[in-house]
C-alpha cells in the first residue's frame, strides 16, 4: 500500500483557468488529477447537443485540452478522473481513444462511467410509482414532465472505484458527485471498506476542499486576499491522503496561491447546508467533526472527520424549460446618476404597461449603488456613475423580444449622459429550471466500459 497519495484539483467548474490542470501535472508530483465540468444547466445543453448529433453531448473543449494533457498524464503516470462525459461519456471516451491511438499511447486504458442519465427511463419510473417529487416543494414531476430536458442521478465513488480496479488511467464519467471522484482513489489505494464511514467521510471532505479549484488555495479569499502571492498563476489545491483518513491540503511550491487554516475554513463552509448532515451517495458527513492544524507553509492537516451510513437514495437532478428572461442595462453618469437611472426605470415600466406586455416578474437594480448588498448597504450621495439594470421573466417569448427592443431607445429618448449600450439589444434567454428529487438506489444501475488503446 502507498504511504500517501496526492490528488490534485484541475478545474473548479467548466470554464475555469485552462492551464491549471497542465500546471498541476507539470509542476510537481501528483498521482491523481480530478476535474469537474458539470452544472445543472450544462446537462440540459448537452442533451440538446446530443439530440442533434448522437456523437455529441460531452464537454467539447475537453478534447483539445487532452491533446496537451494526455502525453503528460502518461509520462508522469497520473490518473485523470473527470465528469467531462456529460450525457455521453462513451462518446467522449471514443474521441479520447482516437486521439490516444494517433499519439501511439498503446496500452492506455480509458473508462467510461455511465447509467446516470435516466431521461429515457423517466416515464417507466413515473408509471412504476416513483413520483420524483420536488424535494423543495413536494410537487410530483408529472407537473412539468413535458418540459423536462435532462434527468441524471448523482453517482458516488463506487463506479469510479470499479474503473480504477480495472486499471483505467483516464476515467470519464457522467453525473458523479465532485466528492466521489476524489474519494474513489483513496478507497482504491488504501483498501477502505464501503462501511468504514469515518474514512469515507474524510475522503468526501477532501473532495469538498478540491471541488471548487483555487477557492481552497487563495482564490476568492476574504480574510487575506491581498496577501495571496502570484494570483495570475495561482496553484490549485492538492490533497495528500493517508490510509488512516487524515489529509494534508497543500499546493505546488512553484505556483502562486496560499493554503492556510483560513482558506480551508472558507471553502469548508461554501455551499454548505446542515453541517451535521452533509449527504452524499457514499456517506453522510458531519462537518462539525473536522479539525484543522497548520503543519507548515501551505500545508494544513485535516483530521478527526466523522461519518455515518449513507442513505439508500440517490439525488436526482432534473432540468426543465420554464419560460424566458431578458436583462438589459444602461450606464448613467454624474451628476444625479441615481435619479437618472430611477427615471429610466420608471419610463421602461410605463412602456411595458403601454405596450400591454405581461411578465411573471420585473426586477430593477442599480449597480454601483446597492445591487449586491441591497438594504444592508448605506446610501451614498451622488455616485460618479450608476448602471441601471432591469430584467423581466415570463413565458411569452414574443413579449420578451418586445421588451428587449425597449432598452437602447432610452439613449435618445430618456434622461441624459447615458452610455453602455454597445452590446445592442439584450438577449432573450431560456430559463432552465432545476428540479431536485430522490430515487431509490435500487432503481438505477451504473455501467462501466473500459477499453485499451491498441
Amino acid at each position: 500500500m502507498k504511504k500517501c497519495i496526492r490528488i490534485a484539483s484541475g478545474q473548479g467548474y467548466w470554464g475555469d483557468r485552462f492551464d491549471a490542470p497542465i500546471d498541476q501535472v507539470k509542476e510537481g508530483p501528483i498521482d491523481y488529477l480530478v476535474m469537474d465540468y458539470l452544472a445543472e444547466v450544462t446537462m440540459s445543453i448537452m442533451q440538446k447537443q446530443k439530440a442533434r448529433d448522437p456523437n455529441a453531448g460531452y464537454a467539447r473543449d475537453f478534447i483539445p485540452l487532452m491533446r496537451q494533457l494526455l502525453p503528460l498524464l502518461v509520462e508522469k503516470r497520473v490518473t485523470l478522473i473527470t465528469n467531462a462525459g456529460g450525457v455521453n461519456p462513451v462518446g467522449c471516451m471514443i474521441a479520447v481513444r482516437e486521439m490516444a491511438e494517433k499519439m501511439g499511447l498503446s496500452g492506455l486504458k480509458i473508462a467510461a462511467v455511465y447509467g446516470d442519465d435516466i431521461l429515457s427511463q423517466l416515464d417507466t419510473l413515473l408509471h412504476s410509482g416513483n413520483a420524483l417529487k420536488n424535494m423543495d416543494t413536494g410537487e410530483p414531476l408529472q407537473k412539468v414532465r413535458s418540459r423536462v430536458s435532462s434527468a441524471n442521478v448523482y453517482f458516488g465513488a463506487i463506479p469510479v472505484l470499479e474503473a480504477l480496479q480495472r486499471g483505467a488511467q483516464i476515467i470519464i464519467t457522467g453525473r458523479v458527485t465532485d466528492t466521489g471522484i476524489t474519494l474513489a482513489p483513496m478507497i482504491h489505494e488504501f483498501g477502505w471498506s464501503l462501511d468504514q464511514w469515518d474514512l469515507l467521510a474524510a475522503g468526501v471532505i477532501g473532495g469538498h476542499i478540491l471541488e471548487c479549484g483555487a477557492q481552497a488555495s487563495g482564490g476568492n479569499f476574504l480574510a487575506g486576499w491581498k496577501d495571496v502571492p502570484n494570483m495570475e498563476r495561482i496553484g490549485f489545491p492538492i490533497v495528500e491522503a493517508y490510509p488512516d483518513g487524515h489529509l494534508i491540503v497543500t499546493k505546488h511550491e512553484t505556483l502562486g496561491g496560499l493554503v492556510n487554516e483560513q482558506t480551508i475554513k472558507e471553502q469548508l463552509v461554501y455551499e454548505l447546508g446542515d453541517p451535521r448532515q452533509y449527504i452524499t451517495p457514499d456517506v453522510t458527513v458531519d462537518f462539525t467533526s473536522i479539525l484543522l492544524q497548520q503543519e507548515g507553509e501551505n500545508r494544513v492537516r485535516v483530521y478527526g472527520v466523522k461519518g455515518s451510513p449513507a442513505t439508500d437514495l440517490y439525488k436526482v437532478s432534473i432540468s426543465y424549460s420554464d419560460g424566458y428572461t431578458c436583462v438589459g442595462h444602461l450606464t448613467y453618469a454624474w451628476p444625479e446618476a441615481l435619479p437618472k437611472a430611477q427615471k429610466a426605470d420608471e419610463i421602461i415600466r410605463k412602456r411595458i404597461q403601454y405596450l400591454g406586455l405581461e411578465f411573471d416578474e420585473i426586477y430593477t437594480e442599480f449597480l454601483g449603488y446597492n445591487a449586491c448588498h441591497g438594504e444592508t448597504a448605506p446610501p451614498i450621495s451622488n455616485p460618479n456613475e450608476v448602471i441601471f439594470q432591469i430584467g423581466v421573466r415570463g413565458h411569452n417569448e414574443k413579449a420578451l423580444r418586445l421588451f428587449a427592443n425597449e432598452i437602447v431607445p432610452l439613449v435618445l429618448t430618456g434622461p441624459p449622459t447615458v452610455t453602455g449600450f454597445g452590446g445592442g439589444r439584450p438577449r432573450v434567454r431560456e430559463v432552465i429550471a432545476y428540479w431536485p428529487a430522490l430515487l431509490s438506489k435500487e432503481m438505477v444501475t451504473h455501467k462501466l466500459l473500459v477499453i485499451e488503446v491498441i
Partner: protein, 112 residues
C-alpha cells in the same frame, strides 16, 4: 462597544437553488463565542430585511469557529430563473459583515 462584524469575522457565501448560505468564521478562536451570542438567526433575518423572503436558519460549527446561515428565498428564484445581478449570492458574505454587534472592548486589539 459596537463594532461591525468585519472586525472579528470573515465569511463566504454561495447558493443552493433559491437559498443562499453564509458561512461566518471567527478571525480568532475567542471571537466565536461572541458570534454565537450576538449573531442569532433572528438578527440576521432582521439585518437582511425585505431581501430575504423566507426563514433564516443557523447552524453552529465550534470546531472551526464558524456559524452557517441558510437564508431561504433570497435569490429571486435562484438558478437561471433569477433576475438578480448577484445570482448566486456570492457577495452576501460581506453584506452580513456590515452588521453591527456588541462586544467587550477587552477582546478587541487597539490597532484593529
Amino acid at each position: 462597544m459596537k463594532i461591525q462584524l468585519i472586525k472579528i469575522a470573515h465569511a463566504r457565501s454561495g447558493d443552493k437553488g433559491d437559498t443562499a448560505n453564509i458561512g461566518l468564521i471567527a478571525l480568532r478562536p475567542e471571537y466565536y463565542e461572541v458570534l454565537k451570542e450576538q449573531v442569532t438567526a433572528e438578527k440576521v433575518k432582521k439585518h437582511f430585511g425585505n431581501m430575504v423572503k423566507g426563514e433564516v436558519v443557523r447552524y453552529e460549527m465550534p470546531n472551526i469557529g464558524a456559524l452557517n446561515f441558510l437564508l431561504h428565498n433570497i435569490l429571486g428564484g435562484g438558478g437561471t430563473m433569477t433576475l438578480k445581478h448577484d445570482a448566486q449570492g456570492k457577495t452576501l458574505s460581506t453584506a452580513l459583515l456590515r452588521m453591527e454587534i456588541e462586544i467587550n472592548p477587552v477582546l478587541i486589539d487597539k490597532d484593529s
